[in-house]
Amino acid sequence: MAALLVSPTLLVLGLVIAYPVLSAVHSSLYSVPDIDPKTGFIEKGDPFVGLDNFTTIFTGAGDRFWNAFWNTSFLTVTSVILETVIGLAMALIMHQGMRGRAWVRASILVPWAIPTAISALLWRWIFDSEGIANSLLNTKVLWTTEGFQAQIAVIIAEVWKTAPFVGILVLAGLQIISQEVYEAARVDGAGPIRRLWSITLPLVKPALLVAVLFRLLDALRMFDLPYILIGAGKESVETLSMLAQDEASNVRFGPASAYSVVLFLYVFLIAFAFIKLLGADLLGARDEAGGKKGKGGGARKGHDGGEQGARKSLRPVAGDDRNRQKEATA
């Protein structure tokens, strides 16, 4: 019965996730056909080359890959750190009781609502040699040329667009922290900084981790922003997705698939490590929602007990908070 009930879900998952992934893995084992010197036509059918596409990536001609790999990692790490910090600050500001709060929230979300391609065009215009950025800073930096300044331009545009997303998710987390906790802390004589470190941050951690994880996965796949803002062939900002796209657009689907598979594994690895190291809570939440799978946390746990036992939480407070949240949402 259970199998019957989940089968539509499994079917959809298979269609939209398993099939594309497996098909990418499959086509990554094929190379490009050669040209027949006599007729000038490309031979038919792609030759099977096994793991050659992967070995090429990691050996001989892999300079471009490693450049793209470091670019992807660098852009991801710097932009995610910045947007977490800024997003958190935005959330804290939005959380303050002030007049026109709804307007502030709505306007902070505007960058997130703009499609990336459009915001990339917008920033391209700002970072033009005669653009606003240069006239504001009174400089003559050529932002969109090769070099560190291109990376900075991408990071600024990326953070501008996605910090609000982090902000809104964190704000949701902030709003379910009970005021009583703060009052109690105040009675005990905790100052604002102490309250931030010991109450706000630990209690908002689950929401923050979800936001950071989302951003991390998104940033690792970064494509349209550097592609449009800086340009297709710029080494300084070429990411793994751009590399795969470039190969595919030159009708080399085998190598392109190989790049995509490597990127997929990289994203998977990062996400896995992130959840294992920091976000035990995330897995927990999923386990409880779909307890049948029972991979991480085992059987469904009681409301007030067990969770701590199954997973090692980083801070005891965070555990309390989880229960608190559930009470609040219940």
Partner: protein, 428 residues
């Protein structure tokens, strides 16, 4: 590595795609060809259309051929996206697109992959069209496309400033251009730069780099696709660009110019000379805010090292998708779209550069489009960009190395050596 065919296509799929040749046992030497196409019926025309002239042309066709109607499939403006969609269509072997509008540099790639059919040699009046254009429609000496519209680079210059300084004629050589700049700009050099082109790392850089090499008497690749960048001519062409960046002849921000950025700089009065395609003429000649040059500029052929230089050839050709149906109709449609009458309409309505030599000399057109004589010279002397199957890789290699040299990351000698090696690997 042993080559195993990726998938054995079912016999039916192959025959469906190659109805014309028929049969399953196609030897690789068999060439798909539209020479004996007989099927007639509705077709489609896949192209982008920024000027809006295509619907009226198609209407003309449909009025005359009610049983063989053509449908206009509008593709995105971006050339890369157009190419991608056409490749997708070819890979899926669908008959969605019948007639394709290909950029002149794509012919080799599409022909070598058999995505387009070989055309009957008598299908187009090739003797009346400009020779340099015809060359882009061939692959290995055979016709795979019909010239549809052409394009060539021209030197836009500030006639008013030149006159003020007592210079009568536009420059024919690079040295003359520098002299005129010194004379005209004098102490104004901080406000205005001498020359601009398209030097951002994209297709425009390939165009401008090739022009520099060709204008110094060299060639990037020959007709067979073999690169010749280890020559003193190529070296002098490259050095000219590098030097121009170093001494400020080209402004520093020139490295970020694509067509439009440069046009705006020219219109703002930042540039004395600017290389661009003919489309700019009409725009810059219109009075507008931020346009100081309306009525004050003129055009000339691109300067070269020892005399007029050579432009890179732009433009589009029509080709016949090999997986399409109703190819006999398609061939007629292609002839119709490229005939003289349609060319006139394309010139009048969309100022697309004609492929027929004689249209350039008609007084009425010259009055209406004063740049036509210069454009004709430009196209006559134009050189095609590298004609290789993997054009995408070739142009990327050119962009990388030229950009490295222009930004001082590499000496021009090292850049040319690297490029020679990369292009040699792509050559047949």
């Amino acid at each position: 590595m042993r080559a195993i065919p990726r998938r054995l296509l079912p016999c039916t799929a192959v025959t469906a795609a190659l109805t014309l040749v028929g049969g399953c046992g196609l030897a690789s030497s068999n060439v798909e060809s539209a020479v004996d196409a007989e099927e007639r019926g509705p077709i489609t025309f896949a192209t982008s259309d920024t000027s809006g002239v295509v619907p009226s042309l198609i209407k003309r066709w449909n009025d005359r051929h009610p049983d063989e109607k053509a449908t206009f499939i509008e593709l995105p403006e971006d050339a890369d996206q157009q190419r991608q969609m056409m490749i997708q269509n070819a890979q899926l072997k669908t008959d969605t697109y019948t007639v394709l509008n290909l950029d002149v540099v794509w012919t080799s790639e599409f022909a070598s992959h058999r995505w387009i059919d070989q055309l009957p040699a008598d299908s187009f009046p090739f003797d009346q069209t400009l020779g340099s254009i015809n060359a882009t429609a061939k692959y290995r000496g055979k016709w795979f496309a019909m010239p549809y519209a052409s394009d060539g680079g021209m030197l836009y210059y500030r006639k008013d400033l030149l006159e003020k300084a007592g210079v009568e004629d536009p420059p024919e050589t690079w040295d003359e251009m520098r002299e005129i700049c010194d004379k005209v700009l004098g102490e104004q050099k901080s406000k205005m730069s001498c020359y601009g082109g398209q030097f951002e790392k994209y297709e425009g850089l390939t165009v401008n780099f090739s022009e520099a090499i060709n204008s110094a008497g060299g060639e990037v690749t020959d007709a067979k696709g073999i690169p010749h960048l280890d020559t003193p001519e190529a070296r002098r062409g490259m050095d000219h660009l590098v030097k121009s960046f170093k001494d400020g002849t080209i402004p520093k921000s020139g490295i970020t110019y694509m067509e439009e950025q440069g046009r705006r700089a020219f219109e703002k009065g930042d540039l004395l000379f600017y290389r661009n395609w003919p489309y700019q003429y009409a725009i810059s000649d219109k009075k507008a805010k931020n346009n100081e040059v309306a009525g004050k500029f003129s055009v000339a052929p691109l300067p070269g090292e020892k005399g007029p230089g050579a432009s890179s050839l732009g433009g589009h050709n029509l080709a016949l998708s090999s997986s399409a149906r109703n190819k006999a109709t398609a061939l007629d449609f292609m002839r119709f779209m490229t005939n003289e009458q349609s060319s006139r309409l394309k010139l009048e309505k969309a100022s697309l550069a004609p492929v027929f030599a004689k249209l350039y000399d008609e007084p009425e057109y010259v009055r209406k489009f004063p740049y036509l004589p210069v454009l004709k010279k430009s196209i006559l002397g134009a050189e095609p960009r590298p004609r290789v199957v993997q054009y995408g890789d070739a142009t990327k290699a050119v962009q990388n190395e030229a950009y490295n040299a222009l930004t001082g990351k590499k000496t021009s000698q090292a850049a040319l050596r690297g490029l020679q090696r990369q292009l040699r690997a792509l050559a047949p």
